[in-house]
């Protein structure tokens, strides 16, 4: 009964609303006899525009410097200093916003929502690191990203993560990317920004939960190198794939490898691949069959996961405020909940019909069917390719940095005896 009454209010307000807004009257303030002067409301201006372009310039300089320091100078120490400087500038000074990781969402939203226009600086933030990665490898991760820097800094006692575990965990990053893109594309919200674990440190304040998440990441980061970058970072996933194609990239030593294995121990990120010889003959036939099976499995996986993803529309679409509101209103109408919430009160006051809300919400939910297919299909592809990739035997003669996993931090340089030798030689030459 109470609910019915609410509906009646909503109906009535509907009749009023257009007129109420337009027929508003600017009522004159009192005329003062004294010499009182009516103050004006202050409106402090945002101070940005220029800053935004400065940010892009600093990003460009930092990326160039990082490329030089890692690839040409081959100095871990200089890279480390640059990383600290980036952390101070992009992190603590500019409060970690905007960053290329979050910019993914702005870019996606601007592609899917014709009314949304992405600021030029944000698109540059998204594109510049990608372009640099295409040429020089993941130098952005090495010395520019403040999120990477803060984790790199706290890494004290690296524990190696088993290869199999890392391979499994990395799927999380793909999932995170896929979800972030899905929610950005449907206009549901910016997932990456919402759960950014370190931004609270940069601002010295934030939601308690987010702070706890950040502290947890740093605690884990004491022992596991850059846990966010490796297992969660959605931008890292893109950079991984792009860096596979990079023109130049980190080599442990330009000289000949003596297979001392020291570099493998030195890398806290498990990005150094050890040499491998021919496939053992007994395994070969089996492996070939398995690979064929896995490749055939790939399309099946894509379709299966896509189907699974599309079935998730009811869960994923809850991220969209309209769908949440429609669900709430539905529950209230069905009498399954007693109270009413702020959003439902507001909705009823606007006088929009419930059918039209349901219709709007259904349209959005249906977007999540296609979105779910794409998301699931993508995850199926990722998992299928991963399965196939770990079943392929690559012949390697030397220890070398993994094209995708290496974040170009330069730790291995110091540990390589050949490199030490080469450096001392060059130093002597200089002298």
């Amino acid at each position: 009964m109470k609910r019915f009454a609410h509906t009646v209010i909503a109906i009535a307000v509907l009749l009023n609303l257009c007129a109420a807004a337009s027929a508003e009257l600017l009522f004159p303030p009192p005329e003062f006899e004294s010499d009182y002067v009516m103050p004006t409301t202050t409106t402090p201006h945002p101070h940005q525009d220029v800053y935004e372009y400065v940010d892009v310039a600093v990003l460009f300089i930092a990326l160039s410097l990082a490329s030089y320091l890692v690839l040409k100078k081959r100095s871990r120490r200089a890279t480390f200093v640059l990383m600290i400087l980036s952390l101070i500038y992009f992190g603590f000074w500019r409060k970690g916003c905007v960053c290329p990781i979050g910019a993914i969402q702005n870019v996606v939203l601007s592609i899917f929502d014709s009314t949304y226009a992405v600021p030029i600086t944000v698109s540059l933030f998204f594109l510049l690191p990608l372009a640099f990665t295409l040429f020089f490898g993941r130098v952005f991760c090495a010395a520019v990203c403040p999120l990477g820097a803060i984790q790199d800094l706290v890494l004290l006692h690296p524990v190696s993560v088993p290869y199999w575990l890392a391979a499994g965990l990395r799927a999380l990053a793909y999932l995170y990317l896929a979800l972030a893109v899905l929610f950005a594309a449907t206009g549901s919200g910016f997932l990456i920004c919402r759960y950014d674990p370190f931004v609270a440190f940069f601002r010295f304040s934030g939601n308690v939960n987010i702070l706890i998440i950040g502290v947890c990441f740093l605690l884990v980061g004491l022992f596991i190198g850059r846990p966010y970058c490796r297992f969660f970072c959605p931008y890292g996933v893109i950079l991984r794939q792009v860096s596979r194609l990079s023109k130049w990239r980190v080599t442990i030593t330009p000289d000949e490898c003596i297979q001392c294995r020291l570099c493998e121990d030195a890398c806290p990120f498990g990005a150094i691949r050890s040499p491998a010889v021919e496939w053992p003959a007994v395994e070969y036939a089996k492996a070939k069959k398995r690979l064929a099976f896995l490749i055939l499995l790939l399309p099946v996986l894509i379709v299966l996961c896509g189907w699974g993803g599309s079935r998730l529309k009811n869960v994923t679409s809850r991220m969209h405020s309209t769908v949440r509101l429609a669900e709430r209103i539905y529950l209230e109408e069905a009498g399954e909940v007693e109270d009413i919430t702020d959003p439902s009160t507001v909705f009823r006051a606007t006088g929009e019909t419930i059918e039209s809300l349901y219709e709007r919400a259904s349209i959005i939910r249906n977007k999540f069917i296609l979105g779910g297919w794409l998301l699931g299909g993508f995850m199926g592809l990722v998992i299928g390719v991963k399965l196939a990739a770990v079943s392929v035997w690559r012949k390697r003669t030397d220890y070398e940095a993994d094209r995708a996993g290496c974040i170009a931090c330069g730790r291995c340089f110091k540990y390589c005896p050949r490199e030490q030798l080469r450096l001392s030689k060059t130093k002597q030459e200089v002298c």
Partner: protein
């Protein structure tokens, strides 16, 4: 051996730490409420909750609503008046509707401007107030006269007719203008004048009602002072009644009472905005009882209109009393006229 076990211990320690961190991170992620569904979480001291004030003792409610409501047919209704024959005049949008006492439509007068107030004269003439001027119509709906504009600042909110005088409340200029029937200004009432003991009207918003009571005094709401003042027709301040209080017998908020009407016996029916209440006072201004409180006027028990976005808020219901003593409330939210009759004793 010792060292080995120490290394193993460290490994276990690290493992436990990582597990703990993972668990607490997962809990944090799950318990994060990015949509504000758990409420804002501000302290009690920071919440303005007046639901308690909105509650009215049922014993004080002397009237009950009759089952019939009349739809005004307006998108936005502004004012209501009843003439001595019981005909109902409802102003809204750009028109005035004339309704029979049972709600049957009789006539409709359309204007080019929004009609903000309406008052039927005894001689069958109808006085309509737009934002800044009065227009006079005959009983067939033909315009007879259009009086002079009150200027840019003017916001006319009420008209009262008594004998040969027409009083017009101008909220924008904070003054009452007395006209004769031909539209000539006789005098202006209520300008602050300490020598004549006139306090001046404090009118914070476009609510400023007046009426001429049977005793021949002009009753004007001084909304900023939360009281009803009595003036002689020549503009001398006589006395006032009404006090600021959240209690049911007082006027709460600013600009109240928003509207009032005179009962046949000389009493007052007042209407408040903010905390929507329609109450009855006797001729001396003593509280008698309640016609309807927020729970009756804003159905669904929403006593607090601030909970909806501002552009959807409409408050300050106009009231009128018909010759039978029924209280007519113009519900601006629903655009209906609601009728309240006295509860039968027992």
């Amino acid at each position: 051996m010792n060292r080995l076990s120490a290394a193993a211990n460290v490994k276990i320690l690290v493992g436990v730490l990582i597990a703990l961190a993972t668990v607490s991170a997962v809990i944090s992620v799950v318990s994060l409420d990015p949509f504000g569904e758990q409420g804002s979480g501000v302290g009690r001291k920071f919440i303005d909750d007046i639901t308690e004030l909105a509650r009215i003792d049922p014993n004080l409610i002397l009237y009950e609503e009759s089952s019939v409501r009349i739809s005004t047919g307006f998108e936005q209704s502004h004012a209501i008046a009843v003439d001595s024959k019981g005909l109902i005049y409802v102003a809204g949008d750009n028109a005035v509707r004339v309704l029979a006492p049972n709600g049957d439509a009789i006539n409709r007068i359309s204007l080019s401007e929004i009609v903000r107030c309406v008052e039927p004269g005894d001689d069958g003439r109808l006085y309509l107030g737009t934002k800044d001027r009065v227009e006079v119509y005959d009983d067939k709906g033909q315009r007879i006269a259009r009086w002079e504009s009150h200027g840019l600042n003017a916001v006319l909110t009420a008209i009262a007719v008594s004998g040969d005088d027409v009083f017009v409340a101008d909220a924008g200029n904070r003054i009452v203008v007395r006209y004769d029937l031909s539209g000539k200004v006789v005098n202006r009432i209520g300008k602050k004048d300490l020598e004549r003991n006139v306090p001046g009207f404090a009118v914070p918003s476009a609510y400023f009602d007046l009426a001429v009571s049977k005793d021949g005094l002009l009753r004007v709401v001084n909304p900023g002072r939360l009281r009803v003042e009595a003036y002689t027709l020549d503009g001398d301040f006589e006395f006032s009644w009404g006090k600021s209080s959240v209690a049911v017998e007082g006027f709460c908020g600013c600009c109240n009472p928003a509207n009032f009407a005179l009962l046949p016996g000389g009493g007052f029916v007042t209407s408040e905005k903010g905390l929507a209440r329609v109450k009855v006072y006797d001729a001396e201004g003593t509280f008698v009882g309640v016609v309807a409180g927020p729970e009756q006027l804003l159905e669904g028990g929403t006593p607090y209109i601030a909970e909806v976005p501002e552009q959807h808020r409409v408050g300050g219901f106009d009231v009128a009393v018909d010759p039978e003593g029924r209280v007519l409330v113009l519900d601006r939210i629903k655009s209906v006229v609601r009728f309240y009759t006295k509860k039968k004793a027992g």
